[in-house]
Amino acid sequence: MEFIISKYNYWIYITLMMVGFYAMIGKRNLVKKLVGMNIFQTALILYFISTAAKKGATIPIVAHGHGEAVHAVHATQYVNPLPHVLMLTAIVVMVSTFGVALALIMMIYRRYKTLEEDEILKATK
């Protein structure tokens, strides 16, 4: 029990990820699948961001970084900025895949006049 409560955030991330995964494989509407993919991606990014967080640390911006005398930067005072930079790229990829998928869904709707997967499969037979 203590194992679950002390790591509550990881359990919630996994729950969120599974919600997205269920929507990707369980829902029949194509737009709902896309919503599930978005939820899955943001849950994954949330996990990576949470690995960067520390207790008692501030945001990774060096105040008065230039101009005045240079003072030493202690790494324990700042959260780790490396996962932030990696996940920034993931967000850019997320919005571009979202736009491309919406364009494909619009082309599918123009051809088959429906967004339900089973009706599209029936029409292609």
């Binding site: 911006i61 970084g65 230039h66 920034l88 850019v92 736009g99 919406l102 364009a103 619009m106 123009r110």
Partner: protein, 153 residues
């Protein structure tokens, strides 16, 4: 959706808020190298201001401000700025996108040259992202025809 609703409250409010959005976007682009933000975020906000114009008025009004040809040219201009700064660094004898070497060209010291190089890169990224966002929205909202082709069902 677009061009069907003529609401004076929405139009006046959008006319008021769009200049502030654009000034904020330019602030985000210009301060991207020592505060949160940067070329991508500023370009997104700059594109969102044009998308707001499309939604509040209609696509024709927005295309009067920024035509399709200008949009595509800005998209490629951003890529050219990004690649051009890198190639200039390469020609001056350093690595690709090694801005420190630009002090020979700009006649400032090396840290100032690095700061100006990053600013140039972010301006290029901002142009490209703004044009790409507007282009994606216009293609999605008008079914790829760039006309007023939106009706229910």
């Amino acid at each position: 959706m677009i061009g069907q609703i003529e609401d004076v409250i929405i139009q006046t409010f959008c006319r008021l808020i769009i200049p502030f959005m654009q000034v904020f976007a330019l602030y985000v682009i210009a301060h991207g190298h020592h505060s949160p933000g940067g070329g991508f975020q500023g370009g997104c906000i700059l594109g969102a201001s044009f998308i707001l114009l499309c939604v509040a008025y209609d696509i024709g009004e927005a295309k009067g401000r920024m035509s399709e040809k200008l949009n595509v040219m800005l998209c490629s201009l951003g890529v050219i700025i990004f690649g051009g700064i890198g190639v200039v660094c390469l020609i001056l004898g350093a690595n690709y996108l090694d801005y420190g070497i630009l002090h020979k060209l700009l006649r400032v010291d090396v840290p100032q040259a690095r700061s100006l190089g990053i600013l140039g890169i972010e301006i290029g990224v901002g142009f490209a992202v703004m044009a790409a966002m507007i282009s994606i929205f216009l293609n999605l909202a008008s079914r790829g025809e760039h006309e007023e082709a939106i009706e229910w069902e």
